[in-house]
């Protein structure tokens, strides 16, 4: 345990160094990145062996402010969630070395590194916390530090608004967690997590729902996802990588942790989780398809992947509640493994998007094109990330989706409603997988392939070497996990043994299946190599010439005629019309000599507009009527405070 605290201290020391040394720009970056990465490295060295061996770590607790106790412990679930924190953060920092290059903003960069380190440390502390006080403290530090990371470019108004939106969701979510804790405290009169198991079934359900809202607003479960598509485009890309790759998973951690603590036995918990998973998964990817901004698109894909993770966890909960061990073990392990896999490929994709935006100065998909030739390594890594996130073998996204499928198929032997839920999980996973492949063939195909669509976009070149290195490491990891999943699958199953029902589940039962999966992946790669060689042989001593693309008889093609992301996604969006409103503005051809033709589409998120219309606006109009309370007169403010204290004293 002390090793972990040393690691966290080093991470924080790196952050403080960023603040102190901000004037020596490059030196500061080197020191900060090195120190924080060493801290994360120590954390990894601590985490990995314990995860695979299953050795228990002793718990520790400290007194704080004389009346509170801060207590920490890491069980197998916590160890598993520490893995992405310590794995992704150093890579994001490595990426930032070339990404944050603006010397004029060196103080701001220093502050950014400080809050980054605080975020990493607080995420680890959330995972390690074992009582309410510790959890909520770490949770708040995590929310606040990430808020400051989001508003890095605070001079842009849209970024400040995105930051406030995130702040509202983070604090509003925390309120619900407070409510859940208060509910449990009122039954158990103890800040300890052990109190959760002692409450009655109905209160458990209420507490779980409160936790779902609280942690769900952090994780980005639909309809609490609204901050994601605003915060991610506003934040710098290495921050988006960590926030989307790691931080929103802490929300998932909260759900898993409190599910474990509540130890419910009813099927309703699994059913709610599955229903939310289906909603987030399918609508997340549909909204992603409609986006024009590459980082907003990726943000919606986080919603989709949170949906997949929830499907896995829901299958696990349903299996645990109905005593179906295979279903429970595969569901939980699949959900957990997807947490790790998503953190890998999503941070990879955000890094790629950041490199594209840095090089071209635009995030608009429909203005880009042909970047693979100008940024070959970034393009290839982005391709790998896209295949992985689409869940296609032989890359890592498939492995976790396969486990969830497997669990859900075993759920089909249940009867009645549980059967329907299992079947729905399978069908939605298939639809999500297909739509994700559609969406990422759109991103790769429009941004990296073809020809540049807008000549006014400046010519790009390969991103800085530290940025490329971070992406290559992540891309290779995605591939390695896809072909040799054994270790991580084992780790995921070990981690899910924290769930009492499947504590005795033999991991050896799973391994033959994984061996077969990796053999099939290897066979596929072997076939690929053989076919490539054979193809090469047929081209030996033949002249392959270059020419323009066949325009089907049209002799004057321009790059503006290429298919765009908007047109590519149009028919799919049309299919989901009740959920997606597309506003089209078309100023068409009216005169004999056409001029000023324009076409503009905007995909409306019905949850965001609904929230705006039914919650945000009524609240603001109500608050405007109370405006007279805020008059700026300091004497009366003191009067308010005195009045409040007097009223509160009456309750004591």
């Amino acid at each position: 345990m002390d090793t972990l605290f040393v690691a966290l201290a080093l991470i924080l020391a790196g952050g403080v160094a960023g603040l102190c040394l901000a004037r020596q720009f490059t030196f500061m970056k080197l020191v900060t990145i090195a120190t924080t990465s060493v801290g994360c490295g120590i954390g990894l060295v601590f985490t990995l062996p314990r995860l695979l061996s299953g050795v228990a770590v002793p718990a520790v607790s400290y007194r704080w402010l004389h009346i509170f106790t801060l207590s920490f412990n890491v069980d197998s679930i916590a160890l598993f969630f520490l893995l992405p924190i310590f794995l992704i953060s150093p890579l994001a920092l490595l990426y930032s070395f070339n990404y944050l290059e603006n010397r004029e903003k060196k103080i701001r960069v220093g502050v950014n590194y400080f809050f980054f380190a605080v975020l990493v440390a607080s995420m680890a502390l959330v995972v390690m916390a074992t009582n309410m006080i510790t959890f909520i403290l770490a949770w708040e530090v995590m929310s606040l530090s990430s808020f400051f990371l989001v508003i890095y470019d605070y001079q842009v108004k849209a970024n400040r608004q995105a930051g406030y939106l995130y702040f509202i969701f983070a604090q509003g979510g925390a309120m619900f967690i407070f409510a859940a804790f208060a509910l449990v405290y009122s039954h158990s009169a103890s800040f300890d997590f052990a109190g959760f198991a002692a409450i009655d079934d109905f209160t458990k359900l209420i507490a779980f729902l409160l936790i779902l809202i609280g942690c769900g607003s952090k994780a980005g479960i639909l309809p609490l996802h609204i901050w994601l598509p605003y915060a991610h485009p506003a934040a710098p890309s290495h921050v988006s990588a960590v926030m989307s790759g790691v931080m929103i998973k802490i929300g998932i951690y909260g759900i898993v942790r409190f599910y474990l603590l509540l130890a419910p036995t009813a099927v309703i918990f699994g059913q709610i989780t599955i229903a939310l998973g289906i909603l987030s998964g399918i609508l997340g990817v549909v909204y992603a398809l409609g986006q024009h901004d590459i980082k907003r698109l990726l943000a919606y894909h986080s919603v989709e992947n949170i949906g997949i993770i929830l499907l896995g966890l829901g299958v696990g909960m349903l299996g645990a509640a109905s005593g179906n061990k295979t279903m429970a073990a595969f569901g939980f392990a699949g959900g957990l493994l997807h947490v790790l896999n998503h953190s890998l490929f999503k941070s990879l994709l955000f890094m790629g998007a950041g490199a594209v935006i840095q090089q071209t100065g635009t995030a608009m998909i429909d203005r880009l094109g042909g970047l693979l030739k100008k940024m070959p390594l970034t393009g290839k890594c982005f391709l790998v990330g896209s295949i992985s996130i689409s869940g296609l073998p032989p890359f890592n996204g498939f492995i976790s989706e396969f486990l969830i499928y497997y669990g859900a198929f075993y759920g089909l032997s249940l009867s009645g409603v549980s059967f329907i839920f299992s079947a729905l999980v399978i069908i939605s996973l298939a639809i999500i997988g297909g739509l994700a492949a559609t969406c990422f063939s759109k991103v790769v195909g429009i941004v990296f392939l073809g020809e540049p669509r807008d000549v006014s976009v400046p010519s790009a070149s390969e991103a800085g070497s530290s940025m490329v290195l971070a992406q290559v490491v992540l891309a290779v990891t995605c591939f390695v996990i896809g072909v040799w999943p054994d270790y991580l699958v084992r780790a995921a199953f070990h981690a899910s043994r924290a769930i009492p029902v499947i504590a005795d589940f033999e991991v050896t039962r799973v391994m033959p299946i994984m061996v077969n999966v990796s053999r099939t992946a290897a066979l596929f790669l072997f076939l690929l190599v053989v076919v490539t060689v054979v193809r090469k042989l047929f081209y030996v001593a033949k002249d392959s010439s270059q020419a323009g693309t066949w325009g089907c008889g049209f002799t004057q093609p321009t790059v503006r005629m290429q298919y765009t992301g908007t047109s590519y996604a149009d028919s799919v969006l049309d299919f989901f019309r009740p959920f997606v409103k597309i506003q089209k503005k078309y100023a068409g051809i009216n005169n004999i000599f056409p001029e000023g033709v324009s076409y503009d589409t905007h995909t409306e998120d019905i949850f965001a507009s609904g929230l705006n219309r039914f919650i945000a606006r009524p609240i603001t109009s109500l608050l405007e009527r109370l405006h007279w309370i805020q008059h700026g007169n300091i004497h009366l403010y003191i009067g308010y405070i005195v009045l409040t204290i007097m009223v509160l004293l009456c309750f004591l």
């Binding site: 042909g370 295949i387 689409s390 869940g391 296609l392 073998p393 498939f398 396969f402 497997y406 198929f409 089909l412 032997s413 009867s415 079947a423 399978i426 069908i427 298939a430 997988g433 297909g434 492949a437 559609t438 063939s441 759109k442 790769v444 195909g445 392939l449 073809g450 033959p512 299946i513 077969n516 999966v517 099939t520 066979l523 596929f524 076939l527 690929l528 076919v531 490539t532 193809r535 047929f538 081209y539 033949k542 002249d543 392959s544 010439s545 270059q546 020419a547 323009g548 693309t549 066949w550 325009g551 089907c552 790059v559 005629m561 298919y563 590519y568 149009d570 028919s571 799919v572 299919f575």
Partner: protein, 304 residues
Amino acid sequence: MESILSFCFAVLLAPLFPVVIQKVKAGFAGKQGPPWLINYYTVAKLLRKGSVYSTSTSFVFKLGPVVSFAASLLLLLFFPWVGIAPICSFHGDVIMLFYLMGMGRFFTILAALDTASPFEGMGAAREAFFSVLAEASIFCVLILFFRLTGSLSFAEFFVGTSVLNLMDAHGALLLLVVVALYIVMLTENSRVPVDDPATHLELTMIHEVMILDNSGPDLALIEIGSWFKLLFYSAFITSLINPFQADNVLVNGLFFYAVVTFIYITIGVVESITARYRMDVVPKFILTSSILVFLGTILTLGFI
């Protein structure tokens, strides 16, 4: 040994069957149709040629045909031809195989977008959309099969004594599956009424327009891959409806391929007597298949 032989036989025969469709269509039109070995000649011709590459393309364009071919070939390795155990098989392989097909499709789409041609982009968008719906149907079928047999691999479905067959107790449910699979087959293999491979206008094509820029051995790989895929789907349906079960492998094989030929004939008939649907009707057509199978799965709740 039998497994390898049956696999090789399937691979070698795959180019022959599509001619059945062409012959039927020619018969309807009062023509003779191409020679029976036309596809072998085509492959030989394409392999002799070189290629012209668009200046817009990158390595992804060359990778497209290779990936889609490898995926289709792998599919044949896992399928039990004539009820003989396949070369490779494991519990859960169907999930992986349909995802590998998705991988092949992903690269076909990327290769099409790589050419910067608006026509190919259009084809790619349609292919991506329709295959999402077809995939949902396929997984509905897998749900029903798991419900009936508890198996998750082609070998478990079709090899041995307790195989899925129309003649068995659950035949009524499988009838729904057969209809659904037939629709999926037409979709996934770009046949009428979803797509018309023989149309003259690029704007109305789906699959054919995506490979406009491919030539030479690359085009040969794509063509062979699509014949494999069509043979796979018709063999899938054949395994479900084939009523003949003899002790002799050769007799079995004869019956099996006779039913396969019958399915190709029906495709030819469908292509001759129907027109391609309008693009906005196609999703409804494909959704019919998933609704049919989902109905089947719900029916299992009452019977099993």
